[in-house]
């Protein structure tokens, strides 16, 4: 248990997120109403996804330099777990959109960009599955993964800021952190992001260890 302190921290942060997230003070806004609390649950999904895809890219670069299969295992596990968070982010965003924008999905740059990013990462996993040789699989998928990360950043972070987007933080719309994210919300939002990212790292570590054990089975 000596290396588990951050897992306990993760649990505490998320328990705090759920209590303060439901019962804390939030600014009253038309249309948004209480759904403003989704900020503590929907947005950290994407932060965690981008963080994990970042980890995946770093380990892909490390793999290209070292040819150490453990680096490849971490890169692949991080992409996998990041994808789970991305899908959760899409689903929660869709529900939120239904009750504030009035539709499950709109042809918004941000939304479509996120959907395409998810498909790009699904393609990464398919690519991995289609190469037999372990070292070749690692090299080919590592190169693809670096491009995938750059594409994801362009699609999710850059494009929606160039074009007009309905999503907060893009186009002509103010982000939550300009004036909607008030002080009370920051006290919950930042711990929430930290908690969700730690949860992502935790699941990533479990997946990596399973992959390592699997590789030792002849």
């Amino acid at each position: 248990m000596k290396n588990s302190w951050w897992k306990i921290l993760c649990a505490l942060l998320l328990v705090y997120t759920f209590i303060a997230g439901f019962d804390g003070e939030v600014p009253a806004r038309f249309i948004l109403n209480e759904t403003i609390r989704n900020l503590y649950f929907h947005v950290p999904m994407w932060f965690t996804m981008i963080f994990l895809f970042g980890v995946s890219t770093v380990y892909s670069i490390l793999y290209l330099r070292s040819s150490d299969l453990q680096h490849d295992r971490i890169a692949s596990a991080a992409a996998n777990v990041g994808l789970v968070f991305g899908i959760l982010g899409t689903l929660t965003g869709s529900i939120w959109a239904k009750y504030t924008w009035g539709a499950w999905w709109t042809n918004d740059v941000k939304l479509n960009g996120a959907a395409v990013s998810i498909i790009i990462y699904i393609a990464y996993l398919i690519l991995r599955g289609s190469v037999e040789d372990e070292f070749k699989k690692g090299r080919v998928s590592a190169v693809y993964n670096i491009f995938a990360f750059v594409m994801m950043l362009v699609l999710v972070m850059v494009m929606p800021r160039i074009y007009d987007s309905l999503h907060p933080g893009n186009g002509g719309n103010p982000a939550f952190n300009q004036y909607d994210l008030d002080r009370n919300m920051r006290y919950v939002f930042y711990p929430a992001v930290a908690g969700w990212i730690l949860l992502g790292i935790w699941i990533l570590s479990l997946r990596t260890r399973i992959a390592k054990l699997e590789s030792q089975i002849p």
Partner: protein, 70 residues
Amino acid sequence: MKAFFFLLLNVLISGLYAGDNDPDMADALRADGKIWVVIIVALLILVGLFLYLFMLERRLRKLEKDKKGS
């Protein structure tokens, strides 16, 4: 039953008199104290998931130890 009608009445009244200048927040729900039911349910799910993660952790650690021993 009485509490339910009181809540219903509360919601109806707040709907009538809220006016157009106040955004609707879950005041009635919170006044009745029942937001805690939701928090407890969500926390139960969260705690359940964490217990499950720690269990997975234990099983994995055991496997890793067996692997090293063999």
